[in-house]
C-alpha cells in the first residue's frame, strides 16, 4: 500500500521526504502530533477533523483515485500539501484532480503523486500541476528526472507555464 520508504523527487530534484503518509485504516491521535511531525491524512479523516487541521503547516491530506478535488474549492489554500493517490498507474483520474486544484482553485501548495507512480508518466503529471513524486525505492532517480523533460514543447496549455505551440508560431 503506501510506501513511506519511497524515493521523493520534488521540484525536479531528488529530495528528502519529511512527510509521513497515513493509511486509511491507521488510527491517529491528532492531539499528539508535534509541530515537528509532518503528516498526510486520508481525505475522509482530514475532513472529519477539519476545524483542528485546517491551516496547519504540518498537516496535509491525500485524495484517493475515487475522491475528486471538488470539495476542496474553498479550503485548499489552507492546506500545505495535497497528495493524489494512483492505486494503479493506469487509473488516470488523478491527472484531472490536480488540474482542478491548480486551474480552477488556483492552489499554490505542493501537489504530490503517490501510489503506483512511474517515471514514464512524470512528464504528464508535471504538466497537470504535480510538483512532487513519491516513486518506488527501486526506481533510478536519474531516469525519473530525465523523464520530466521528455518534451521541450507542448501543443496545448496545461497547468504548467507552457504556452501552446499555436501561440508561439
Amino acid at each position: 500500500m503506501l510506501d513511506n520508504a519511497a524515493l521523493l523527487i520534488k521540484d525536479q530534484q531528488l529530495s528528502d521526504n519529511h512527510w509521513q503518509l497515513i493509511d486509511k485504516e491507521q488510527v491517529i491521535d491528532l492531539s499528539s502530533v508535534a509541530d515537528s511531525d509532518h503528516i498526510i491524512l486520508p481525505f475522509a479523516h482530514w475532513q472529519e477533523n477539519q476545524p483542528m487541521v485546517l491551516g496547519k503547516a504540518n498537516i496535509g491530506l491525500w485524495l484517493d483515485s475515487d475522491e475528486s478535488a471538488e470539495p476542496l474549492a474553498s479550503v485548499c489554500h489552507d492546506v500545505p500539501l495535497i497528495a493524489i493517490n494512483f492505486p494503479v498507474f493506469s487509473d488516470g483520474r488523478g491527472y484531472s484532480y490536480a488540474r482542478t486544484l491548480r486551474d480552477h482553485f488556483a492552489y499554490r501548495g505542493e501537489i504530490r503523486a503517490i501510489g503506483d507512480v512511474l517515471p514514464d508518466q512524470m512528464y504528464f503529471y508535471q504538466r497537470c500541476g504535480f510538483n512532487s513524486f513519491l516513486l518506488r525505492s527501486d526506481v533510478n532517480p536519474e531516469t525519473a528526472i530525465n523523464c520530466l523533460n521528455d518534451f521541450s514543447l507542448s501543443y496545448q496549455a496545461g497547468s504548467d507555464q507552457r504556452t501552446p505551440i499555436f501561440h508561439q508560431r
Binding site: 475528486s68 498507474f89 493506469s90 487509473d91 488516470g92 483520474r93 491527472y95 484531472s96 484532480y97 488540474r99 486551474d103 480552477h104 512511474l118 514514464d120 508518466q121 512528464y123 504528464f124 503529471y125 508535471q126 504538466r127 497537470c128 533510478n140 531516469t143 521528455d150 518534451f151 521541450s152 514543447l153 507542448s154 501543443y155 496545448q156 496549455a157 496545461g158 504556452t163 501552446p164 505551440i165 499555436f166 501561440h167 508561439q168 508560431r169
Partner: protein, 552 residues
Amino acid sequence: MYQYDHYDRQVIKERVDQYRNQTQRFLAGEISEAEFLPLRLQNGLYVQRLAPMLRVAVPYGLYNTAQMRKLAAITRDYDKGYIHVSTRQNFQLNWPRLEDVPDILDELASVDMHAVQTSGNCIRNTTTDQYAGVAVDEIEDPRPWCELIRQWSTFHPEFALLPRKFKIAVCATEEDRAAFKFHDIGVELIHNDAGETAFNIHVGGGLGRTPVISQLIKPNLAWPHLITYLEAVLRVYNQLGRRDNKYKARIKILVKAMGAEAFAARVDQEWQFIKDNDNTLNIEAVDRVKAFFIPHDYQSVDDQVSNERLQSQRLESTAFNRWLDKNVQPHKQPGYAIVNLALKPTGIAPGDISDYQMEAIADLADRFSGGLLRNTHHQNIVLADVKKDDLFELWQCCESLAIATPNLGYLSDPICCPGGDYCALANAKSIPIAEAVQRQFDDLDYLYDLGPIDLNISGCMNACGHHHVGHIGILGVDKKGKEFYQISLGGNMSREASIGKILGPSFSSEEIPEVIQKILDVYVNKRTDEEPFIDTYRRLGIAPFKEYVYAG
C-alpha cells in the same frame, strides 16, 4: 495538406527518442510488461497472435507520395512487403520486430509521420470524410479543424490514461461519410445564422459491445471554443467514466447512465472554468492551418468537352464504363473527378496492398492527382483531384495494378477487420469470410442489380469491421472453441444512422455464402422498383428474412 514546421518536427523527434529509451529499458528489464503496455500501445504497437502489429497514424486519412514511398520501403526493410489500410484511415504493418520499432519510427519521422496515439486508452486519430475539400455537398473543408484537434490531443498530459480509447470524427457534409454518430465525439460542422463556422457537438456514440448512436449535447458552439469544449467533455469523462469494467468504460455508457442532459450540464459547468483560457482558438491560428488546405491548382477545363470525350471512351470499353460509373465520384471543380482505387480484389485480404502496388500508386498520384492520397474507412484509397481527361489513362494503369475492380459500395467491397488470422483479440477469422462472399458473388451484373449494399465483417465484439452498421453485418463468435458467425441486418452508417438487428442463431463459416444468398433472394423478391436493400429492410423489418433463412 498540412506541412510540419520545426515545432512539429521537434515534438515528433523527441517522441522517437523517448520511445527508443523506453524500449531499451524494457528490453533491459527495467520496465515491466504491464508498465510497458501503454507506452508501446501509444506508439501504435500491439502484440498480436503471431507477431507485433504497428499502426501508423494517417491524420484524417491524408498523406503524400513521399510518405507512401517511405512506407513501401519500410514494409520491405522491416516487414513482409505489404501493408493494411485500416477502418480508421490508418496503415498497419503486420510483422515488425519489437526491437526494430524505434528505428521504424525514426524512418517515419523523416517523412513527418508517426504512430502516436494510434492505440491505447487515449484520444485516437481524428477522422473525417475521405472526400474532404472536393466534395460537392460540403459546407466547409473539415480538415483544418481535424488538424487543430490533432495538435491539441497530441500528448495531452491529462488524457493519456482515460478509462478507455476515445475517438473523434468531424463531418462537414450533407451526406455523412465519417460515421460521426458512431464516435465518442462527433463534431458536426455547420454555418450559423450569421454565416460563421460553428459546431454541433454529439457525444456518446460508438460500436463495440454496446452500439449506440450519439446525442447532441451542444448545438451551435462558436469555433473559437472548439478545443476548450472538447477538453471539458474529456475532463468530465476522465473523472466519471467507469474504470471497473472495460466493457462499460466508453463514454457512451457514462452518457447513458447520467442522461444526455445531465452530462451536458456537467460539461458546461466544467467549461465555464476554462472557456477563454490559452487553448481558445484565434483567427491567426485557424487561418494558418487553413492555408495548408487551399484547393489544388486546378486548370481551367471545358467540362462539356471532357464529358463528351468520356462518353465516347465509355463506348470503347465496357470495363471502363463500369469503373467510371462505380468507382469515380463527382468533384466540385468542373472538369475534375474523384477516383477510388479499389483494394478488395478477391483472394487478397481487404485493404491489403503490396510494396510494389504502393509505389505504383504513389506514381499515379504524382502523375494524376497532385501528389496526394487519402485512405478511406471503407479501406480503399482515393485520388481526389483527377482531371476527367486523364481518367481513361488512369483506369488502364489501375487495371494493370489490380486496383480497378468496379465494385465500390457493392457487396464484394466489404469492410473487414484483420480478424483471427492476425489479431489476438479475435474470436474468429474474418478475411476468409470476405473471400467466400466475394467468390460466391463475382457476377458484376448481379451485384449491380442488387444495388449498393454495405457488408461489414468483424472477427469479434470490438467491432473493428463495424458490423453493427453494415446493411449486412457479420460478427465472428466463439462457441466452445469453434468459430461461428452471427448475422445482423439493417445497420446504416449514414445520417439516417441505425444499428443492425441480429437475424438469429449463428452459422458456421461454410454456411455463410448460402445464408447471404437467401437474404438477397428475399430482398430481390420483395423489393419495389429501384428500392435499395436498406429501404426494403426498413419497410419489411427482419421477419421475412428470418423466416426464409431459417426455414428447413
